[in-house]
Amino acid sequence: MLGYARRPYTDETYRAEMAVAVADHSRLPIEPALWADFAAGIHYQQGDFTTPEAYRALADRLDRIDAARGTRGNRLFYLATPPSAYGPIVENLGRAGLDREQRRGGWARIVIEKPFGHDLESGRALNREVLRVFRESQVYRIDHYLGKETVRNILVFRFGNGIFEPVWNRRYIDHVQITVAEDLGMEGRGSFYEEAGATRDILQNHMLQLLSLVAMEPPIAFEADALRDEKLRVLRSVDPDWTAERVRRDVVRGQYGSGWVGGVHVAGYRDEPEVAADSETDTFVALRLEVQNWRWADVPFYLRTGKRLPKRTTEIAVQFKRPPLMLFRESTSDPEPNLLALRIQPDEGILLRFAAKVPELGLDVRSVNMDFTYGSSFSTEAPEAYETLILDAMLGDASLFTRADEVEAAWGIVSPIEELAAGATPGEELRVHPYEAGTWGPEAADRLIERDGRRWRRL
């Protein structure tokens, strides 16, 4: 492991800093003997992001480490830098020949973190820049959501079970709701968020990835490109022709004001540090999408995400249609239609709701839940998303990384909304609607779904 940055560390001071960081953040305590062994493999190289000589020195250093530690020229470059540095770094890695995979079988891979651009055009530009130097198969675009245990479990749930696939379509499913709710506010990321907003920060990547996983066709193999081909087809089936009228009807953007979350008073978005007092950045977005293919035509997908909502929760809820005929007219309550909820965090699990007879005289029908919880069912702790993903990148498994064409397809859905919103005049529907911190977003978001005779789930 070699750290490369401008700061003047030595191997020793860098190791010492790493030891403190690992002790602070690891989910397991450090075992001193193991750490000593591991730390011997941590190195530091001081260098600038834009100076070609520095990269040549980096290449020499990597060769020496290869020779000393027998790493056979396998290299994984992880860019934990601001996105603006991606371009120069990639270019210089290329100039120094560090993108080349060696004859003896050593591989070279590069991991980049989101955001992958801030709109369709910049997303394409970034892809071009990276792909001028690296081949697509060498590029690992990391979206840590995809490394979460329960996100990976969506695939197992759908394609490891035989009984759900036959009903996973427009014939049986009424609609799907995807919620990514956060209770946190800016936590010192105000200046970043001013540029991003909920649409770019969460919707463009995490939420559209969840949508793809739920809506995709079975892949021909559990293999990176087969999976990503199917995910891409879902994104391409979402109608990207946004008109101002359609955005006004199907998208609600919001921004939180002050309020109470979890028993604590919190400031409004415009009062957060590094946020403009007249900011129009969205901290909430709700929208209605349709996936126009044979499986999903006319099944609406309702997506919502926001900050300073009442609780932190991520889930996908598949709402099935009502039975064609309600036979039990004597029942005092109409049972709710069947529901399948895949909860991603916290309290990971799977819930199935169905109707059952109340055990007494007469025939009263009520909804009951079968609620499987991971936390209390498996004693082994799930690894952190990054642990999973970095291991996958080292093993060359790109299944859970986003491909260039996926990124562009996602921007293709999101960019037009952002452009129309940015061009809207004050007071227009497309502007951000204020909502009180600690509530489920602006009322307009309720109207968005109630218009179709449906309701957001209470989570």
């Binding site: 109470w260 979890g262 028993g263 604590v264 839940n369 609620d371 936390g375 209390s376 069912s377 989570l459």
Partner: protein, 291 residues
């Protein structure tokens, strides 16, 4: 986050913890349930390990991997939110919750707001318990979270409660004192619950005004209002209705507009009462308030 480690109470499957924030409560609950999972997993393994893999670490290791998962389903059927500012009412709520635990396993939140003028603080005692139900032998697990708060939080209890509701289960709000109908803090809580439980039998001075307010909540259709006082009068109501089943009185019923009930206090007990009509003494003793 929570201060003390989880402690398991010997002899019963019961765990307790403390926390001083809502995220702390959530973290402690999840720690408790993973500790519970580990325990049952270890118990499961040791039985098999004794039989099959004693002294063979390789085989034991394989068993660990291949061991069946002791899948646990949530057994709670509701989230009960009891608001009880006074210590005696909060004790009463906990007693009732414990009595109902096996028949109606729940996550019970008992909120005791105090000292609204001081700084804001939260102090929560968390306990979880698993019991084997008598006949079926199935295990039911319940959670109790007693949250004492200070400061302005009292006005924003809905925000405190929401992160702690179990998804997809009905939420019952039990207001142990006079419900502050029309107040912001009450309205916020009503908006997130499915049922409201009050006891008109224990309303203070102006019970009539409270009942009128509740009638409005009831008319709005949500949440459904249940009155323990009204349930307590079930026997009386049945008794009165029963009078009109008599062939002589039944024809009078359609014409009846008002019904006067005279109540006699007996010298033996100030709280018991009986109408002039025939009355079994046991049913009289159950009615604590008469109109």
């Amino acid at each position: 986050m929570g201060g003390e480690p989880i402690t398991m109470v010997a002899g019963a499957r019961r765990w307790t913890a403390r926390a001083t924030s809502v995220p702390g409560i959530e973290a402690e609950l999840s720690r408790i349930w993973s500790a519970a999972a580990r325990e049952s997993h270890e118990a499961h393994l040791s039985a098999r390990a004794r039989a099959l893999a004693l002294g063979d670490p390789h085989l034991a290791g394989r068993l660990d991997v291949a061991g069946d998962v002791g899948v646990r389903m949530r057994t709670s059927v509701l989230t009960l939110v009891a608001v009880a500012p006074r210590p005696e009412t909060s004790e009463r709520a906990l007693d009732a919750i414990n009595t109902l635990a096996t028949r109606h396993p729940s996550r019970a939140l008992v909120l005791s707001p105090g000292d609204p003028g001081g700084p804001s603080w939260i102090d929560a005692g968390i306990s979880a318990q698993c019991r084997i139900a008598g006949r079926s032998g199935a295990e039911t697990c319940t959670e109790q979270i007693v949250v004492r708060t200070g400061g302005e939080i009292e006005q924003h209890l809905a925000g405190l409660v929401q992160p702690l509701l179990i998804h997809d289960l009905p939420v019952v709000l039990w207001w142990l004192d006079d419900p502050p109908i029309g107040r912001h803090r009450f309205g916020d809580l009503l908006a997130i619950c499915d049922r409201l439980l009050v006891d008109s039998g224990s309303f203070g001075d102006d019970g009539g005004a409270h009942l009128a307010g509740l009638a409005e909540v009831y008319a709005a259709g949500r949440p459904v209002v249940h009155d323990i006082g009204w349930m307590r009068l079930t026997l009386w109501r049945e008794l009165l209705a029963g009078l009109f089943e008599h062939p002589l009185l039944a024809p009078e019923l359609p014409a009846a507009r008002t019904l006067r009930i005279d109540v006699l206090r007996t010298p033996s007990s100030r709280r018991s009462c009986r109408p002039r009509a025939r009355c079994a003494s046991t049913s009289c003793a159950r009615a604590t308030r008469c109109a």
